[in-house]
Subunit: 379 residues, 2 copies
């Protein structure tokens, strides 16, 4: 079994967008790619069969924080890892738990050693350190695992951002050492991606890109964006980081974002994305479609028997009507959550496939501008 | 297009169990059959695709009370009926709303004219009469529609049961007249099934069977059972009704029941069943399997990575493990509701297919006794 490989297939002449192929021991991923979030070992309200056939997902995420708390490591280890536990045979990426510790958990104390936090489920106290987060992700068994970082809140000042970035770098060293001193557990190769931090400050981001790049990991991530900063700042920092991260490795922008965010950031050279937006917003009746955004709860869809999205190559989006989905959401039927989640995810996967085709054809830049205008339309 | 036909294929030599085929304008149904309940136009947490491929449903139910309140008649009528609205192309049966009015709605007043009741959603007042319930079911568009009846509570005394039955008979006459004076709305034939009532009193039940049989409907239903009376009484009355309903028409026992209830009543000559038990109990972690009953929340399944039910010919039951489903239920993941619902429904459909095979082979009676013991086992 072999470490992750990234083969660059084409770079768009009018932008920095790239098309490539990532190879892992659980199969290949065509980039740019969107990764559905499977928080606790399940992409919410969607079966693994639907993820393959309807959503056409190539890789999914697992959240270390959630999986560590529930079902817990013993259940995952005795299963032979998350792939065996939930039946997902394609690649899996796990985050490091850092972000959830800062956004979800109760009282937390950050020390050099790591972070102590309280479970949001039962209030129990736990420690996440760079070392044990490597061990935990070894047990969960993702093909790609993430370094443990501190994710400072949007709007952090320079001093906080620098101190936090330096801590993240020291933690990265410890992650790196632990990771390389522990074996793969389940017979396939795991890959550790380091994470660039540095808030909204270009000099910090540049220093962090260089620190991260020096590890010569099989892929690199950009963290700490889309955490409350203005959208133009997010774009500026993302673009800047892409310029300072190696071109021959996949770049993963964590937790971003809307369909237009994704197209813009593909144009800057990002290869991998994840976000809860398609599933979470779907459960709240917001649909992204090939013609624009709509709120399916809206009265205007009451008698609209046309398919949810005629332009999308997804059976669920073609089979069910807007009027039926609206009814399901109004009646709080579980099926509404499933249909909306599948549709939105299938749309995100369609979008990155379209982007890839246009990168391969070399006309991504112009297509992107037109597409963003269309996708932002309020229907 | 043609009225429903019932072709009797075999009667078990050791019991009154029958195997047959019901033909409707939306396709055929092999009996005995279990009909999943699609309350508000959706079998809860299950897609129409999964109902076909995983559950192998041949006919589903819609609830008139729920559909009338939400999405409402205008949405259904402009869609071209429920089949067009929810995309279910096989047969649909709708109940009359009577049962829900008595079990769900707020303050209700029963008069000769009909029942006024309050919506459980917004408290608004409505009237269900024999005539408008026919009109409503015409609009919903079920292949089989049910007469409007009063369903007296379990344990009703003789006087109440007789008075109520007589009202149900007068309402049946009005239903019958309205139904036969109104055309099919959507180009296929609808069929009205009358309902036997009479509480737990054999003379009333016999009178009701005779009253109902005299209509010469294409099928007949037994109502007012499994409403709180002891199980032996339910069996006794069901058996009695089967003896007094015509053999050449399908017999539908409404709202029953557990897997063993279904096998026992098949043995008495019942052909059609519906019940919310597989979906509702599934959502509450109770699974019916080919080896017995289990509570998937139980700690004993924490490390059990074996399939939910190896003996069942359902991909979902084979693909997902007990440990994974337990985790999903504990973590309150929507996917747990979907998997448990699909599994339980697939089990019910498997059970009636097995029963049918044994009736056709002529060894149903012995098989049933063994099977009931196995299915009741607590795992």
């Amino acid at each position: 079994m072999a470490a992750l490989e990234f083969r660059l297939e084409n770079t768009d002449p009018g932008s920095a967008a790239r098309a490539g192929t990532i190879t892992t021991d659980h199969g290949t991923i065509q980039t740019p790619i969107f990764m559905p979030v499977g928080t606790a070992g399940s992409v919410k309200a969607v079966t693994q069969q639907q993820l393959v056939s309807d959503v056409k997902a190539q890789i999914i995420l697992g959240n270390t924080y959630h999986l560590y708390l529930r079902p817990g490591l013993e259940v995952l280890e005795r299963a032979g890892g998350l792939h065996r536990f939930n039946g997902w045979a394609k690649p899996i990426l796990t985050d490091s738990g850092g972000y959830q510790v800062f956004s979800l958990a109760g009282t937390r104390i950050i020390r050099e050693e790591g972070v102590t936090f309280q479970s949001h489920i039962d209030g129990s106290r736990h420690l996440f350190s760079p070392e044990n987060v490597m061990d935990i992700q070894r047990i969960i068994g993702g093909d790609i695992i993430m370094a443990f970082d501190e994710c400072p809140p949007g709007g952090s000042d320079y001093t906080y951002a620098r101190t936090s970035m330096e801590l993240t770098h020291r933690w990265l060293d410890r992650c790196w050492e632990r990771f390389h001193n522990t074996p793969d557990k389940y017979g396939y190769t795991q890959n550790l991606f380091p994470i660039v931090q540095g808030g909204t400050f270009k000099d910090l981001r540049k220093a962090s890109c260089e620190y991260v790049a020096a590890k010569n990991a099989t892929g690199n991530a950009i963290g700490g964006l889309s955490v409350g900063e203005p959208e133009p700042v997010m774009y500026e920092i993302c673009d800047w980081c892409c310029q300072h991260l190696p071109a021959e490795k996949p770049r993963y922008l964590m937790g971003v974002g809307t369909p237009w965010n994704i197209l813009e950031c593909i144009g800057m050279g990002v290869d991998m994305f994840d976000c809860v937006m398609p599933t979470r917003n779907g459960r709240n009746a917001m649909l992204f479609t090939t013609r624009g955004v709509l709120n399916i709860d809206n009265k205007k869809w009451e008698f609209d028997y046309s398919p949810i999205d005629e332009g999308l190559d997804c059976e669920v989006s073609q089979f069910y009507s807007k009027a039926y989905l609206r009814h399901l959401m109004k009646a709080k039927e579980f099926l509404g959550l499933t249909i909306a989640s599948i549709h939105n995810l299938a749309f995100y996967l369609w979008l990155v496939r379209q982007a890839r085709e246009h990168i391969l054809q070399g006309d991504f830049a112009g297509w992107k501008t037109e597409m963003i205008e269309r996708l932002r339309t309020k229907l």
